[in-house]
């Protein structure tokens, strides 16, 4: 039964690949509305990013996520969630004074995932990561992500 199913899938894919291509390119389907996703849990995090957004109207409460770059390399991203909900990302970053850049993405009512324009992105800044402490970075967007504020606090590690 399983073998025959696999055979059917293989035959179908062969049909698709060998079918003559239409001169008119097919309209891509609209992007699927992503479900709210949780960022993967990290053991003993030393960096916690909390992102929140003030949404002016219920209609503006779309979905968004935030990527984290350290020294230019992406090290993680928050889960996709409603703008009005707090999104939290826990990371284990190397100890030291690290340049952290946040990159905010959102899904407009029509179209694909869009990176927030550069002038509206949070500013890059160094964050000192130390043993025994957890750095908490609070990013808050307001005025429909048109402005943001960044605050950093430090608390003793639970471990």
């Amino acid at each position: 039964m399983r073998k025959s199913l696999l055979l059917l899938v293989a035959l179908l894919s062969a049909c698709v690949s060998s079918a003559p291509k239409s001169s008119v390119s097919a309209v891509p389907p609209p992007p699927a509305r992503p479900a709210v996703q949780e960022a993967p849990e990290v053991k003993d995090p030393n960096f916690i990013l909390v992102v929140s957004e003030a949404v002016p109207r219920p209609d503006d409460d779309g979905v968004s996520f935030t990527k984290v770059f350290v020294d230019g390399k992406e090290v993680g991203k928050t889960g996709v969630g409603r703008k009005s909900e707090e999104r939290i990302l826990k990371l284990k970053l190397p100890v030291g004074n690290q340049p952290v850049r946040l990159e905010h993405w959102f899904l407009p009512p029509v179209g694909e995932w869009t990176r927030l324009a550069d002038p509206l992105q949070p500013r890059e800044r160094f964050v000192r990561v130390e043993d025994g402490t957890v750095v908490r970075m609070l990013l808050r967007f307001s005025e429909g992500a048109a402005s943001n504020s960044l605050a950093i606090s430090r608390e003793p590690s639970a471990h």
Binding site: P56, N97, E124, R125, V127, R128, E143, A146, S147, S149
Partner: protein
């Protein structure tokens, strides 16, 4: 023949309407108070619309009350302003063809002066441009045309026919705007000796929309730029502030002017966020009146992007104006109150994005008003670009990002302004922070590390001089605070230039 030329003598008994003595409109009657309870009825047969007035001269021992009734014997107006020996005047009674009765009576039960005659003088005039009593309530409001003039009196001082024994005299007028569209209504009430007027505007639901009470006793009153949406109807109420104050000898002129709204002036009432006047042109005029008036203007940004708003407010004689920027919900952003009385206010370069904002103009003390002295509010919205300060940057949380090697131009304004910038040093080196001088400001630069611990601070020797810091810095993020040494120092005209360089 002779009798026709002289006064009409009362024909006793004339104690009831059936026995009333006929009196021609505009004629004089002569009579006597034969007993304390004597009532003299005079019948007027009017053939045209008009305004009727009557005056009875006081005589010894008699406390006159003068009243007028319609043909159904409904009392229209009653005057009793004086005591024994005093005159009584009934003014501005609007009449139409038909029968009316003037009734003379006495309140002094001990009067005994049957021998002395009184004189009752009537006057009949065209109703054009005249107040027509009774117009003492919203229901009885006298229709008036926008753009016309009405002449009337604050008289009598009391409304004796009201259920409220304390009710003062008031004159109501209704105005209908038939044409659709937006209009501005200007209303002026001339001055009348002894009277402090109050002018109010109501909608047809009885909600008070505006009150003008800027003038004092013997002064006029004005409402300017009152916004009217046509077609529509509203009511004006004019009264004396003090119930015992009136003037039968001097009339008021109530003048109105209806103009098509062109967006160049405020659209009163604009006293709250919900009624804000759309501010779409580059400048707009308004006036602070009555005392405590707040004028809200809505600035809308429809396009995405970052913009800087500059707003200039002219000075007004005798007033210290304050300009405030508020967000779409009416929450306060900055306040421009840099200058004093009669001086302009400037809001320099506040960062805005797509959305609605409000500029609010008010007078600082809340006690001054002058509808004849308008202010001009000017706005300029420019696209923000790198190298320009982005307010708000008053705290470390909203510090403006700056790259080493770049410079930024900004203002030390409004009063108490502090500007935070943040930059990253990716390689250890000597960093120079340089700030140009600005007239009237002695600036202070303070450098903080990324934990916001102060590393260095430097002040200009005196106002207008530059200031700089040079410091060996490790890799990391640094914040800089720029502010005047004295929070009262500010400069809305000249920008500073701040540069971060690495050697």
């Amino acid at each position: 023949m002779l009798a026709a030329c002289g006064p009409t003598r009362e024909v006793e008994p004339n104690d009831s309407y059936q026995q009333a003595t006929a009196l021609g409109a505009g004629r004089k009657a002569v009579g006597a108070v034969s007993t304390p309870k004597d009532r003299d009825w005079y019948r007027l047969d009017l053939e045209a619309d008009g305004v009727l007035s009557a005056k009875i001269g006081g005589i010894r021992d008699v406390d006159f009350v003068l009243a007028i009734f319609d043909k159904e014997r409904r009392e229209l107006k009653r005057v009793d302003e004086t005591t024994v020996g005093g005159d009584e005047q009934l003014l501005d009674l609007g009449v139409s063809p038909g029968v009316y009765y003037l009734v003379v009576s006495n309140k002094n039960e001990k009067s005994a002066n049957a021998a002395q005659s009184y004189e009752l003088v009537t006057r009949f005039e065209s109703p054009s441009g005249k107040e027509c009593e009774p117009n003492d309530s919203a229901l009885a409001a006298q229709p008036m045309e926008a753009g016309g003039v009405i002449r009337g009196h604050y008289w009598p001082t009391r409304n004796l026919l009201s259920e409220d024994p304390e009710a003062g005299e008031e004159d109501w007028f209704s105005m209908e705007v038939a044409k659709p569209g937006l209009f501005l209504l200007n209303i002026d009430v001339s001055e009348v000796p002894k009277v402090d007027p109050i002018l109010e505007v109501y909608d047809t639901n009885g909600y008070k929309l505006k009150e003008g009470d800027a003038g004092g006793v013997g002064e006029g009153e004005s409402l300017r730029n009152f916004g009217v949406r046509g077609p529509g109807k509203f009511l004006l109420r004019l009264r004396s502030k003090y119930k015992t104050a009136g003037n039968p000898d001097a009339s008021y002129d109530l003048m109105t002017e209806l103009l098509t709204y062109q967006g160049r002036t405020e659209f009163e009432p604009n006293d709250q966020r919900a009624d804000a006047t759309p501010f779409e042109l580059d400048s707009i005029q308004g006036a602070v009146a009555p005392a405590g008036d707040q004028d809200w203007y809505k600035v809308s940004i429809a396009t995405d992007g970052k913009f800087l708003l500059r707003a200039d407010l002219t000075g007004v004689p005798g007033m210290d104006l304050v300009l405030t920027l508020k967000d779409s919900l009416g929450n306060g952003l900055p306040i421009a109150d840099n200058m004093g009385k009669e001086q302009p206010e400037v809001l320099t370069g506040w960062g805005l994005t797509k959305g609605d904002y409000h500029l609010v103009v008010c007078e600082k003390s809340g006690k001054k008003a002058d509808s004849r002295a308008p202010y001009t509010l000017t706005k300029k919205l420019i696209a923000w670009q790198a190298g320009l300060e982005w307010e708000p940057n008053d705290s470390t949380g909203t510090a403006q990002s700056l790259k080493v090697g770049e410079s930024v131009d900004g203002y030390f304004a409004p009063k108490g302004d502090a500007d935070f910038y943040e930059f990253n040093v990716y390689q250890k080196g000597v960093v120079d922070l340089e700030l140009t001088g600005v007239i009237n400001v002695a600036p202070v630069i303070t450098l903080f590390d990324q934990e916001y611990r102060e590393l260095a601070s430097s002040s200009a020797a005196k106002a207008g001089e530059p200031v700089a810091i040079s410091r060996d810095l490790d890799r990391g993020t640094y914040a800089v605070r720029l502010r005047p040494a004295d929070p009262a120092q500010n400069n809305v005209r000249d920008k500073y230039s701040f540069r971060v360089r690495v050697k």
